[in-house]
Symmetry: C2
Subunit: 853 residues, 2 copies
């Protein structure tokens, strides 16, 4: 046990340490992963291998010999998962080999070396105690998952050739986190030994180890985390290890395979790491005389260094000391690569805010209001969370923020879907890249169209028109609708004769005030004047619409209430029509026969008459609405009854109806389409944002066959002459196919209430009600993945240009929530698969900050 | 050799067959791959493995036992690359094992079995002849690459229990294409034995084998192609095998690894295949008692079947007959999976045109003019080529078409870049998906912006505004330019006071007739009335511009000539200014001092005066041009001198200048930016299309700091309030970073003339001149990756709506060129890395078809 080479006696003792990590109580199928935060003050690397038995531990040990060749250093070796324990213990191997190496090359400084095994399966701990060591069971922990605190601890002081107080000392810290007895794959032994460890538990412990060992370290530290088996070998819960460790996204050292066939295994392992977003910093492997480094370097285009270790003696009796000596220069090179990659990364991260500040032109952003120090550096995303780089007191760290703005309302993927999408995006690029769409067909575009017509377009749509974003989808929808109107009202005819229609007719749209349909001019023309549309922003904007003030609904002081515009208010609706005991009552079809429905109808009918009367040439060529929720206009819930009455009346008058579902579509409001809530169908509808799950831009305009037919004729000029370069690009369609299926399958989306095809309630009703009772809160709108709050504000504090919410949002970012505001309206937004637990977590933090206001 | 079980005597003889495959003569570094065409009449599968020695050949042999259990069938086994030959011969193994199996289970029908080795290295052939066989060298072939025709052929008739004439017979055809002596990786032995085989040569032979063995077969055939080593093991040229066979994209059977660590290796191998666009139809592996199928099935979400073979006896003496018998039901299942996947694929491919016809709404397409049978089914893309599914005489096949419309001018990648982009897209999805841009920074967006400012924006641009496509980039550019104009001319001021500017000023743009800037309303307003803009298409279009008729240049009858608009013609330019002996003279700066430059200037100056004079309120707020080539307007080359003079005069008058480089940017015209040709810089420029290499939509608007500063102030309302959901999405930025670097690096882009930072001439000058002399051709414009031809046409045959080119294009598609037209203008477009040889190939075919016209 204690090698003869250690000068200071090895101490093996029971080291009692209570498990300080709070255990996650899994109440539903997919526990939220722990919040990831770790210091970037020192390099941390994960050691991966292309297969088992390629020498990961030799590389770890070799790095310790290289790194601990100077005083004042600390080498931290972590082995999260050890099978075959206690016979096999990689942390003990590193501890022993370094100790032996040290004694042979005794430098001028001393080293405190330790090896620690934190937890083990009952079987492993029994095998361990049969070896003569007493093990105390921790009943709290052993209960349930069969894992006990083992607390094996051994340490030694390796005495250098000089007095350590003169020359200083270094530290070698080796830790095994979990040990299992059988020498098999972790997922098998965890099951066989009835000692399963969940991913969140393992990550939490890893985070704890890193925190305690790194945070207060001022000197040089190198940390390596050694995985078990190959890159995609399952961990103890069954998750593949490359998926398991993904939230940390530590840079990787890949131990390759120098044997025959090893080029292939090494490249494939590299690609599996790449497909999880890891940065591989170096590839290293044992020389088998096959010059595998040639093809590997060429594959890597020399951007990733490939190092070759001397052949490893195979005799069991060999203590490898000569080999370590021979390999030392290679390990020095590897260490150098790791150090310089680390420095490059942190220096780049530190410089990013300034560079961004100097060369980006952010949309919708007044640059003068964004000082350099407020720029958020996003290192990566994992599911709903950003990994953000920060510098606190001159110490770099990676911390986590929940993407509660859903990156402009686009996001849907959980961590699992994100990784599946990564594979699909790789596949789609390799199979298609992008290919020409018009007059052609290819699988992802066809499957995407089929899914759309069976899903959000079911019951009314029969054609799919692809474009790039919500704004272009709206421009296309308007062109469709206006042409349909011109035909239906015989203003133009089949043979393209317009009989001077241009001068006779001034086509307008009917829209709701506060609705928003995009930023290109055509889409802007369909919205009422707003801060986005002024002469200052778009000198060409006219506002080609009649804009109605809609009645809206919100929770105020704990109750869902209607707010009516003046003109409707004067028609004196019954009081009982104006409040709702439950949110679902707002959507009830029974409201169609209410007195309020009549009032809405007569108001709408009169307005439409007025438009026609006011000018002989002005015609209402289309109705365009955001069903249920008007997003960019301030997260206003429009009374769905009002929208239903409006749609029906337009249908009566042969005015084509457009639903802008760019924001509301694909489960944003808890159903695949918002038609579920307003219970009527459009002639044309636009989708984008969540359609691809939140990966790449793609939009569609769906249309009924009647709309399509207006564009069919003998002349090319009768066709819809609008298109974008990447129309129906294979990448977007592939992402959409995957995401559409994922969200509506209860096997992958655990939030789905299959019978109703609705999401379960994600935002805790009580918490929402409590928030609405806060004095700082004016109104709350909560539906599906959205929970929006209007802060009570007056004067310049209200409205889009208001900066009122800024300091609140800044504090919430410190709490790990990345929110944005629309003036004094703030909102939380999650994905269709986000656990209600995560949502409650967000609500709690928001509640606390609002209380302070 | 001849197993005792064959009843008919085995014949081993020299089978002389001249190599009928025409060999590609490599004249530059990257030979074009052969045109891929193969029948889809029968299933063809590639057998891959996660590592060496996992039993690929056993699976092949097992499939032969399963498939050849009925008469009237043919099992085709191809082994393209065999090392360790002649000791190791997988084709002989399959031949022998099947023969042995047959004799034990003697069915009622007979089988003709054969094994054939086509070519071998000299070393292998010598080893072979030392074994007693005479080998005749084929000097033509052995010369240079050390490969000789071996022509080993052995056959046997396996007599069934009944007279074969009664019950019919089946065939087993085994072929080794190339053999090398040493049992090492093919890339090593090819080098050591001085017998290298290029990828194109190998693919051509494979295509030949498939053609000759499959084309005339009416009965059931199953073909397997067995690879060597692991999925990413190098082939004889050094290309990874998964890359080498990619042009065929045969569906794959993956032989996995059932050992400890095998889950990881199998998953990684699966991912490497996925990253090349292969469809893996089944995973099969030998049982080692570790239940690896559990995690594998769970990883594959049960969408890909996982089959387990019984443990393989390890004794060399075992003839495996019992094992084959035991494994037969598994092989039956595998065969069934392969058959049904094949039927599903072909039936889907056959149905796609009808489905597309029924539910797509293609942009810019008159559906009535696209009969179902004209719909092109694109199965995949590999570099510049589509793999297209066709049914000829009721036989399915996959054939190749060069994407000569560059999929609406977006395409750039060669096959190598495409695969590298696949890995990058996977990585970007896994690392970021998409993350919020405003006020944030992340690596791909920053690096992309840096590359843009160092590249296409060098010398003038300092800010990058991201959006989704050319049209949105133009809308943003217009908003920037008009605001800048309003400030510079003091129409609005810093504190947003517009003093009723809206009613005082009517802002227009100056643009060239025939230019095209996109389909959203704002972009359309900046272009002259055209078929795209009529009341019928966009009732809101006004045409907010002054549209100048530009002078254009083209090659007519072999000579580059200027065409001047009437107004300039009347100013009587010198005749010597109107023709150019060389194209490069058109771009010479010395023309600035010509008489023509003065004429241009006075024409422009007068026009600008006229605009101001005509109405007090109308102001020219911006100049917008497509530099050098106007794309969608008919591929017109505008005289660069005219554009230069125009830009200078606008600068003088403080009119902001926008370059629309959506089409011209990123090497489309042979330089990274078209400013290289017109030799002056804009204030604002738009890029899209080729920027991502042709993978996903992404656009940018670059601006000078002076433009940016107009938007900086205390109020959010002064900011540019325009943005799209996926602004600066990580996927697009990652693709752009890779592609921008790839195209401008002479290590990856062999077309680059490094000194000049220009592409070499891609289109053979003589061929182009010959084409311009054809009576059917009115004019030719050739520059960079573009070669456009206007067909001589009159009346309704000319212009955008013309259908004149349709039958010509249909014929060219049969020749393997996918072209599109802009009315009577047709064009060829390649990528920045396409070899001039491929271009010449295209020109030749076009020339032939034009001659027929």
């Amino acid at each position: 046990m204690s090698p003869s080479t250690t000068l200071f006696a090895g101490i093996l003792r029971r080291y009692r340490r209570r498990n300080s990590v709070s255990r996650f109580i899994a109440t539903h199928s997919r526990p939220a992963l722990p919040s990831i935060e770790y210091p970037l003050s020192h390099p941390i690397y994960t050691i991966w291998a292309a297969n088992t038995s390629l020498g990961k531990t030799l590389v770890s040990a070799g790095l310790s010999t290289s790194f601990l060749s100077s005083p004042h250093r600390k080498f931290l070796y972590l082995k999260p998962v050890q099978t075959g324990f206690p016979e096999d213990s990689d942390s003990r191997f590193v501890y022993n080999k370094y100790s032996e190496f040290f004694s042979q090359h005794r430098p001028e400084f001393s080293v405190f070396a330790s090896n620690h095994v934190l937890k083990a399966s009952v079987s492993a701990s029994e095998a361990f105690s049969r070896g003569g060591f007493e093990v105390e069971r921790d009943e709290d922990v052993s209960c349930g998952n069969g894992v006990v605190n083992l607390g094996l601890y051994e340490e030694s002081k390796l005495q250098g050739s000089e007095n350590w107080e003169m020359k200083g000392f270094s530290k070698l810290v080796c830790k095994t986190m979990y040990g299992w007895k059988e020498a098999l794959s972790p997922h098998l032994v965890a099951e066989r030994e009835n000692a399963r460890v969940e991913d969140d538990e393992l990550l939490e412990m890893l985070k704890g180890c890193l925190g305690s060992e790194l945070e207060s370290e001022k000197g040089e530290v190198l940390c390596v985390i050694e995985t078990a088996g190959g890159v995609a070998s399952p961990g103890p819960s069954g998750s593949l290890q490359c998926d398991l460790y993904r939230p940390f996204r530590f840079p990787a050292i890949l131990v390759g395979d120098g044997r025959l066939g090893g080029i292939s295994g090494t490249i494939s392992a590299y690609e599996s790491l790449t497909l999880r977003g890891y940065d591989v910093v170096a590839v290293i492997f044992e020389d088998h005389g096959l010059v595998n480094e040639g093809p590997l370097s060429s594959y890597l285009r020399r951007r990733v260094p490939v190092l070759v270790l001397p052949p490893i003696p195979k005799e069991m009796s060999n203590n490898l000391m000569e080999w370590f000596q021979e390999a030392l220069s290679t390990f020095h090179s590897l260490e150098e690569i790791m150090q310089s990659a680390f420095l490059e990364r942190t220096s780049r991260l530190r410089n990013m805010p300034k560079k961004a500040h100097d060369i980006f032109w952010w949309p919708f952003t007044q640059h003068k209001l964004v000082p350099e120090e407020n720029v958020t550096v996003i290192d990566s995303r994992c599911g709903e969370n950003f990994a953000v780089h920060k510098v606190n007191n001159n110490v770099d760290l990676i911390t986590q923020q929940f993407d509660a703005c859903a990156s402009w309302w686009t996001q849907g993927p959980d961590a699992t879907l994100q990784i599946e999408l990564a594979r699909d995006m790789g596949y789609a690029t390799a199979r298609y890249g992008h290919v020409m769409f018009p007059e052609n067909v290819y699988e992802p575009a066809l499957e995407c169209a089929e899914l759309l017509l069976e899903g959000v377009g079911k019951g009314w749509a029969s054609r799919v028109y692809f474009s790039d974003n919500g704004s272009t989808a709206i421009e296309i929808a308007l062109k469709m609708a206006l042409r349909k109107f011109l035909f239906d009202h015989k203003i133009v005819s089949d043979d393209l004769v317009t009989e001077n229609a241009e001068s006779r007719v001034d086509l307008k749209v009917l829209a709701l005030r506060g609705s928003y349909h995009g930023d290109t001019l055509g889409a802007m023309e369909a919205q009422a004047p707003s801060p986005y549309t002024g002469f200052y922003q778009q000198p060409w904007y006219k506002g080609r619409g009649h804009f109605l003030d809609p009645p809206t609904v919100a929770m105020r002081d704990g109750v869902w209430k209607l707010s009516l515009p003046q003109e409707i208010e004067t028609l004196k609706p019954s009081l009982e029509d104006l409040t709702f005991s439950l949110r679902e009552n707002i959507f009830k079809e029974s409201r169609d026969t209410s007195n309020l429905a009549d009032i809405y109808h007569s108001y709408i009918w009169k307005t439409l008459q007025l438009i026609i009367d006011s000018s002989g040439s002005t015609r209402t060529g289309a109705l365009i609405i955001e069903p249920v929720i008007q997003g960019a206009g301030g997260m206003e819930m429009v009374d769905p009854l009002f929208q239903r009455v409006l749609v029906k009346e337009c249908r009566n008058q042969k005015i084509p109806v457009i639903f802008d579902e760019v924001f509301t579509g694909f489960w944003r409001l808890g159903a695949e389409s918002a038609t579920e809530f307003i219970r009527c169908n459009p002639d044309i509808a636009c989708f984008a944002k969540l359609m691809t799950g939140g990966i790449v831009p793609l939009a569609v305009t769906l249309a009924s066959e009647a709309v399509f037919e207006v564009f069919v004729g003998d002349s090319k000029l009768q066709a819809l002459l609008h298109g974008h370069s990447y129309t129906a690009h294979a990448m977007g369609c592939t992402a959409a196919v995957k995401s559409i299926k994922w969200f509506k399958d209860s096997k992958t989306n655990h939030n789905l209430i299959s019978e109703a095809m609705l999401l379960r309630e994600l935002w805790d009703s009580d918490a929402v009600r409590q928030i609405s009772l806060l004095p700082a809160v004016h109104r709350v709108v909560v539906l599906g993945t959205l929970c929006a709050l209007e802060l009570r504000a007056e004067g310049s504090n209200a409205g889009y240009a208001s900066l009122y919410a800024r300091s609140l949002l800044q504090k919430l970012r410190e709490d790990g929530i990345y929110m944005r505001s629309l003036g004094n309206v703030i909102y939380l937004m999650c994905g269709p698969c986000t656990s209600p637990q995560s949502c409650s977590n967000l609500l709690n933090k928001v509640y606390s900050r609002l209380e302070e206001l």
